[in-house]
């Protein structure tokens, strides 16, 4: 029982991180309707910016974190301006965008690896202080991950509900023409979507990297967690993304309990395939998908 409770507690923390990843990915997938593979690159760049700031330039931790998120945002927006936007303007098909995005990911991640090396970089040294909750143990870093994740995700939901611009972003995915028709600033919204998505990727990356370190090739994993969470939960429902993320975290926790963490990918992608087959609109989406064609 104690083991199970401990795993559930860990799953709750992981759910916070997965939710961040899901919101960052979902923002773009929902509003732009394309599969943003380079999201994984933003994730990697943010943490390596912290590595550069802290270990090479000797910045203090808090300044480094700011630099990390900022550079992540810069990378995300730059990738949009240099690749996606021009491609979309020239009428590129989803397949072309997907491959360009894949190319961007490969390019960026290997550029990072070229500069910093392929091995894992540890960001925080020493043993994390931990707290006891009865028989359960939680580290300080886990508390931070839990709080940062859930506060950001909930806060963002409140903003989406109140702010007109954010509502516009939400409406964008459904009826792209509506946005221009309502006279909302399209360019600004696009900028905002990419920037916000990068913030979520960056924060998720940093709270993970500060805990277990970072290597250049985890970006793909982060992207896939985010993407699977969004698709499993349901693209059209914000809390569906969170639900998908939590479900993944929970099932991975259960997998650790029953088998071992080595089988995590089997769980993640098994859920993905089963969901797509039997409930393509997502587990938490009430509405059936509109009829195609």
């Amino acid at each position: 029982m104690i083991l199970l409770s401990q795993l559930l507690l860990n799953a709750l923390v992981n759910a916070a991180i997965f939710s961040l990843l899901a919101v960052g990915f979902g923002l773009i997938y929902r509003s732009m309707r394309f599969f943003y593979i380079a999201y994984g690159a933003v994730y990697v760049i943010a943490s390596y910016a912290v590595v550069a700031a802290m270990q090479i330039s000797g910045f203090p931790l808090y300044l480094s974190i700011g630099a990390g998120v900022f550079l992540g945002v810069l990378a995300g927006v730059l990738m949009d301006r240099t690749v996606y936007l021009p491609l979309e303007r020239s009428g590129a098909t989803p397949g072309v965008l997907l491959i360009a995005s894949l190319g961007l990911y490969i390019l960026a991640v290997n550029a990072v690896a070229l500069i910093f090396g392929n091995e894992v970089k540890i960001l925080s040294r020493g043993i994390e202080p931990s707290f006891s909750l009865g028989p359960l143990v939680i580290t300080r870093m886990q508390v931070i991950q839990f709080l940062v994740g859930w506060i950001l995700v909930t806060g963002f939901w409140l903003i989406i509900r109140k702010n007109t611009l954010m509502k516009g972003i939400w409406a964008m995915g459904e009826t792209p023409n509506l946005v221009t028709a309502l006279g909302l600033p399209c360019g600004l919204m696009r900028l905002l979507v990419f920037a916000l998505s990068s913030v979520f990727a960056g924060v998720a990356s940093l709270v993970t990297a500060l805990d277990v370190g970072i290597d250049p090739h985890v970006g793909m994993h982060a992207l896939l967690i985010g993407a699977v969470a969004v698709i499993v939960g349901g693209v059209d429902v914000y809390w569906g993304w969170i639900g998908g993320a939590s479900l993944l975290a929970l099932l991975q926790g259960m997998a650790v309990w029953q088998f071992s963490s080595r089988w995590n990918d089997l769980i993640t992608f098994g859920i993905l395939i089963i969901t797509l087959l039997f409930r393509p609109q997502g587990l938490f989406s009430p509405r059936k998908r509109r009829e195609e064609r």
């Binding site: 190319g103 390019l107 290997n110 070229l114 993407a227």
Partner: protein, 289 residues
Amino acid sequence: MNYVLHLLIMIGIYLILSYGLNLVVGFGGLLSLCHAVFYGIGAYTGTLLMIKAGLPFLPAIFLGMVITGLFALIVGLPALRFRGDSFVLVTLGFQMIVFTILYNWIDLTRGPYGIPGIPRPVIAGVEVTELYQYFILVSLFLVVIVAILFVVCRSPFGLALKALRDDEMAAEGLGKSPVHLFLYAFVISGMVASLAGGLYATYVTYIDPTSFTLDESIFLLAILLVGGTGNMIGPLVGTVFMILLPEALRFLGLPDTVAPNVRQMIYGLTLITLMFLRPQGIAGEFKLR
């Protein structure tokens, strides 16, 4: 000389892989991200049939192809219900799942330890050990496969597949069954990859799951995207370019520590550039949807 032969053998194996994948990507218009799975299953079944069941090379390879074909059928049935992003995701999902199984089913695959000491092929009593012999063997298989695929692609089947790729709704309106035609293409492509896997395993005599990762699937897809799809020249151009690029970098004197990253960066940059300038690839005739 040995170095050139080695390169030619690797090009031969990758040509078999890319021509097989071309049927799905180029003629079917479906971006599959699990080709390395079939490559891997081919390598593992071929190897295990030789080592554990004691089968000779040719029967092991052919039985491996049949098993992989069945597996492709199992993957294809659910995957081919999807198009676009969802198809990419489902194939990617199978890629991750099978890799996890290859990596963790220690009893069967020895997981990360890999399987060493794979016997060399013996054909008609001759053990293929020398590089030049191997080159001949791979070339023979390549010629046969390319000839078969050439006929398949030029057949009414190939034409119908292209019609489905260009406009599925219109092709269906002419009575072309997407379910059957795509499934045939998927299974054939898996079987061809399986053959390449068997050749690869007996050539390097050691396999472990890291040769059959998602990155490998992406690499195989990239070969086609760079070279171009939908005809018989594109995969050739792509394979030669993608296999020889790292060798060219080696001649430029890049240290081994950075060479893999530089190589990957060039692949990435090539993909982006192509999407801007020539979405159908260098020698391809069909643009991605």
